[in-house]
Symmetry: C2
Subunit: 385 residues, 2 copies
């Protein structure tokens, strides 16, 4: 019998940095974590004692992992439907549930559902041939092609400038048995992210809408709240996220990535049903971090306040550069800026891989951008003047 | 070889709630933790993978634990001098070092050293007989008797109203081979705590001075910063703490518990060379928590900013009450106050034992006191109106 009876165990499928950052609020809440990790020294497995090794496609490993968990949740979407079904059939509380999760796993299913509900999406179509791509483009190139399943961090997305470029993409996806989505390339002014949490009993909480900057399909920088976003536009974005959470029956955190256009519209780009890179600022910048909120939501505990603690928060990702040793730049970064919050993920450095992030809170946007960008660049072997 | 080369391992002797709360900043900093725990399901051992079981008085276990640690530190003072010597002799970086630590372990040594340096202490004397207690009191009863070593949370402290009461205390301590300290009972208006961090290279950081409320020798409530404390008085208290840290060569966090008197003086009560209950508010309330700062200091990393993030923070301890199950009151507490930060330690509930704490940040002292006191009382089976 545990020393603290009644306190539950949450199983997280995956042991990357999102699971790693869930360990702190779990310990604070008195909630036990169990991880399904692919290797023993994965990012989160370094900091969580209860780790089961295995793949989410190995149903036996998954069921072994789920035994003794009060609820099973995810730090990524790459869990095969058969695995989810096996969990549900075994009576495991899976949150978010397979039906909700499908909309974060399959972009075609997501577009279909959101469009049917009147939620604003870019123009889209499922395409199976170059002729269909050409018909979809109707002369308006470039067109964005997306793998309906399996993409992340810029993978699985192609911007094609002419029909000839579409052929190899379609062929590649067909070979993998993955559907292809064509979307208009939205001429956006910036990208936003609206995060909400929803619990099984229907309680919901909306975080301030943030501005995100991606490069090469990878999130680089987040400003919370999005500078210059009108109250109306912020409420509209939060409303979209809350409607999607309710429509799909999401449980846990939901991130809705949005395009903002010059004429002030917002269009849904992608969904993630878990803590998300656009919410790392909440660790220090909000009363309840997205990681704590996800745990509360999947456990059907009362949600915490999503209010921010400072006028502004800026988060910059640290990507791997040329040097495997991050400890020297780390000492420099800590020495240069005692007010910076530094998060390292314990991951092997590979070029372009997310290995950490930094956050600064304050009231002066330029100051926060300078500090977080400098730190991020310094880690990556560049120095900004 | 670790995935993140260069990042160090910190060994913590002890696996209670202080070590538990060190796990979150260690994971964020990319620092590995190893614990010396007495039992496998101790508070911190529940949330840290690398745990060695053993007692700090078992030199062999201690050396096995220290192997592979870049530095060894402590979450309590109850480490025998022979164990500390063995670590130092084996070439282990022990921080704080045995000589500094002795002043947190032995109140007689501490009083001697601080008095010699002109630091303000209550009147004190080492006493070995009732005659000496009577001479010390000189008619001014009550007198406070303290075990020079081994006390904590109100244990090892006796307020004696007459010489007859001193006899059993002296006899008990003599039997244990522990020296006895007599101190004037300070007619204090309130208790304060001044926390500073100091690194081996001499860098120091001072936290806002806080007000603490003890009942039965156990800390119940902390307000940061101490309400109504003048700037001069706050600086004087910080100065005392910084002087002590420098004088004793402290490395890591130092908490100096102080008495404030009606005539505006502050007197040193006790020292702790580790994260301290009076600093739990820093987890959410300061840029750098005391737990992160302690890790930075013992690793000789640049210190973080001790600045506070909100005008006020109030922390209330949750003590064990009559009911072993804390989960039901916990759900109530979360539901009642979405802005509250709740920390549970995963400890078995015993009457009067610290099993968690709650913190609220804001600008309205009465509101913060109401909320944290209500939550704390509710956990303990009382309800405040």
């Amino acid at each position: 019998m545990p020393l603290a009876p009644g306190f539950p165990t949450v199983g997280i499928v995956g042991a990357g940095q999102l699971a790693r950052m869930s360990a702190a609020p779990a310990a604070a809440l008195g909630v036990r974590l169990r991880l399904l990790a692919s290797v023993a020294d994965e990012s989160a497995a370094q900091v969580v004692p209860d780790v089961v090794l295995g793949s989410p496609s190995d149903v036996e490993a998954l069921l072994r992992f789920a035994e003794g968990c009060d609820v099973v949740t995810f730090e990524h979407e790459h869990v095969p439907p058969a695995s989810l079904r096996a969990l549900v059939d075994a009576g495991v509380a899976v949150r978010p549930g397979p039906e909700a999760l499908l909309h974060a796993q399959d972009k075609a299913v997501m577009r279909e559902r959101l469009s049917a509900a009147g939620l604003p999406c870019p123009r889209w179509a499922v395409v199976t041939s170059t002729a269909e791509v050409e018909a979809f483009a109707d002369g308006a190139w470039p067109v964005v092609l997306k793998a309906a399943r399996g993409g992340y961090d810029g993978r699985g997305v192609w911007v094609v400038g002419a029909v000839e470029e579409a052929g190899p993409v379609l062929a590649g996806l067909a070979e993998q048995g993955v559907a292809c989505l064509a979307e208009e390339r939205v001429d956006f002014t910036r990208e936003l992210s609206a995060q909400v949490a929803r619990s099984p009993s229907g309680q919901a909480a909306a975080y301030p809408v943030v501005q995100t900057v991606q490069r090469g399909g990878i999130c680089r920088e987040v400003v919370a709240p999005a500078p210059g976003l009108s109250e109306d536009a912020a409420v509209a974005a939060q409303d979209i996220a809350l409607r999607i959470a309710g429509l799909l029956g999401v449980v846990g955190m939901l991130a809705v990535e949005l395009f903002e256009t010059a004429d002030g519209r917002v269009l849904v780009n992608e969904l993630a049903m878990r803590p998300h890179n656009s919410g790392h600022w909440t660790i220090e910048g909000a009363v309840t971090s997205q990681f704590e909120q996800h745990l509360r939501a999947v456990l059907d505990l009362p949600l915490g306040s999503p209010a921010r603690l400072a006028p502004l928060a800026v988060m910059c990702n640290v990507l791997g550069g040329d040097h495997p040793d991050m400890y020297e730049p780390y000492r420099h970064v800590l020495a240069r800026d005692p007010g910076l919050h530094v998060h390292m993920y314990g991951k092997e450095v590979r070029a372009g891989r997310k290995v950490g992030h930094v956050t600064a809170l304050g009231a002066d946007l330029d100051d926060l951008l300078d500090r977080t960008r400098h730190a991020s660049a310094y880690f990556m072997g560049e120095v900004l003047e």
